[in-house]
């Protein structure tokens, strides 16, 4: 059984964390002159989130599915839950095909060291929503 009961939960928690991500000063500085638009395609449950870094906006669901992107990141929703808490090693997950990264990868990989503050933001969102069961030890 999945960690999330449906796509709306994914958007409410991970989508909200991404909204914080695009205005995080370190991300803004790193992406302001680029074209990095990441489409996060999740499975079980199926969900799509578009993170437009230069535009500092996040789209969820159907609006995200058809929108153009420069990088596509695929993973299960459970692994997304772990990843955004800093509990999934990105390089190892790629080697084990738990994550698939396609498109222009250099800018996206360059953002990995900046993800630390997002982990805390995501966990706070989960805690505020009373979903401490999703927080990974």
């Amino acid at each position: 059984m999945s960690t999330f009961k449906d796509a709306d939960e994914v958007y409410a928690y991970i989508g909200k964390a991404m909204e914080a991500c695009v205005v995080e000063p370190a991300f803004v500085e790193a992406t302001k002159d680029g074209s990095l638009v990441v489409k996060i395609i999740q499975t079980a449950p199926d969900a799509t989130i578009l993170v437009d870094f230069p535009g500092q906006k996040v789209l969820c669901g159907d609006a995200a599915v058809d929108a153009p992107s420069t990088v596509q990141l695929r993973m299960s929703s459970d692994n997304a839950n772990r990843f955004w808490q800093g509990k999934l090693n990105f390089t190892l997950a790629m080697a084990q095909r738990k994550i698939k990264l396609e498109g222009k990868r250099s800018t996206a990989l360059g953002l990995l060291p900046l993800t630390g503050p997002i982990f805390d933001t995501y966990k706070t969102i989960l805690a505020d929503a009373g979903r401490t069961d999703l927080i990974v030890d």
């Binding site: 695929r74 090693n89 390089t91 095909r97 738990k98 396609e102 990868r105 990989l109 990995l112």
Partner: protein, 411 residues
């Protein structure tokens, strides 16, 4: 001032490399016989200015990019492959570190390199070489920082180095490694620290055991490094090792490729020098003639042409791969295949240099087999190309596995 190395600056650096290469050529045979790293070359290396070759200009270096660095390493290797392979360790680690260090670390450590310090990086351990997760431990200390315990078996350039970079797995306070594979990956870390040993190779918590005894590349002085409570302060932590190294391993792969390209230049040069002049006098064998000049013999002509073609192809493969990285074209490759695709330049030059050293010996004849002949030396040295990661077998496995993997995620 341009932040890149200009053409004029490159020409000056290349001229310095040519001079140093001549020196390496002169001292190389003795180092090979005595199986030792030429410590007398350290001062010359530093004086050449090339120690700061690929350090970015903002930290006081010459600012060479990966293609410019490759060309200079090949020029050095043309003089002596083994001595250059030793100093190659320095260029590799500078290249990798500048992509992984924090700004403060770049200022401190690359600044020191710009002032003449030499870096080495022992990573491989006995069990599984570079692929193996570090069994070497980094035990957290109450006062902060870590103490390293373990052994690295390919400590190239240790006898010249002032700075050590290495990988170790962070343990609990009692020195226990993490229980799970995932945690081990997570805790395997990259460190940088001051490296100081005495003439006997003994330092504070670290020592060099002079174990180097191999078929070729004698002058590299690739010894065993024992870390016996070696202290690394907190600011010596660089990053998670595997995640970090993944993005910068081109500096290892392509610099090794450049070594073997330089060797190919030398094999062709030596073969031409011998075969363009060699005469056999009167022969009555495969050729029956009153006077046989080998430069007129069909298979010798073809052999030189074949070797020259391989040199040119290898040059194009190495330089083009470097240029594609400089231009950012690698962004178009599937991310999983980036490292093995970069590695193709190394496996291609490795295959060619091994083929060429064998072919050159065959063309030159039995004299090439005698100890001390440049050809037997290059033959032995070229065999080292089989081992630096990724080797040809690993590259094909890596690529094939990715291409045959199902589209679905593994979970």
């Amino acid at each position: 001032m341009s932040d890149k190395m200009t053409e004029d600056e490159f020409e000056a650096a290349f001229a310095a490399a040519t001079e140093l290469s001549e020196y390496f050529r002169e001292i190389g045979p003795d180092c090979d016989v005595k199986n030792k790293f030429p410590k007398q070359s350290i001062a010359k290396f530093k004086k050449s200015g090339l120690v700061a070759l690929n350090v970015p200009k903002e930290y006081g270096g010459l600012g060479a990019d990966i293609l410019q660095t490759s060309k200079i390493i090949s020029e050095l290797s043309r003089g002596d492959s083994a001595i250059t392979l030793a100093y190659n360790m320095h260029f590799i680690m500078v290249g990798m570190c500048m992509g992984l260090f924090s700004e403060a670390q770049n200022k401190e450590w690359l600044g020191r390199v710009a002032d003449g310090d030499i870096v080495f990086g022992p990573f491989s351990e006995q069990r599984a070489g570079f692929s193996g997760l570090a069994d070497m431990t980094a035990v957290p200390q109450p006062e902060g920082g870590w103490r390293l315990y373990g052994k690295k078996v390919w400590g190239t350039l240790s006898e010249a180095a002032n700075i050590v970079t290495t990988n170790a797995t962070i343990t609990d306070a009692d020195g226990n490694l993490p229980d799970t594979f995932e945690e081990r990956v997570e805790q395997e870390s990259f460190f940088v620290a001051e490296f100081k040993v005495d003439a006997k190779g003994q330092g504070d918590g670290v020592r060099i055991e002079r174990t180097w005894d191999a078929l070729g590349m004698h002058a590299t002085g690739t010894h065993t490094i024992h870390f016996e409570g070696f202290y690394v302060p907190e600011d010596g932590f660089v990053c998670s090792w595997r995640g970090g190294a993944f993005g910068v391993l081109e500096w290892a792969s392509l610099m090794f490729a450049s070594i073997y390209l330089g060797m190919q230049y030398r094999v062709l040069e030596e073969a031409r020098a011998v075969l363009s002049k060699k005469t056999l006098g009167a022969t009555f064998g495969a050729i029956a003639a009153a006077e046989t000049k080998v430069a007129n013999v069909g298979h010798i002509i073809d052999g030189i042409g074949d070797m020259a073609s391989r040199v040119e192809l290898s040059r194009r493969v190495v330089h083009r791969t470097c240029q594609e990285l400089v231009d950012g074209y690698d962004d178009n490759w599937p991310v999983e295949l980036r490292f093995p695709y970069i590695g193709l330049a190394k496996t291609f030059t490795a295959e060619n240099v091994m083929y060429m050293t064998k072919r050159a010996m065959s063309l030159v004849g039995g004299s090439s087999f005698r100890r001390g002949a440049i050809f037997e030396r290059l033959y032995r040295d070229s065999a080292a190309s089989m081992f630096q990661p990724l080797n040809a077998d690993q590259s094909c496995t890596y690529i094939g596995e990715q291409l045959l993997a199902p589209e679905e995620l593994s979970d």
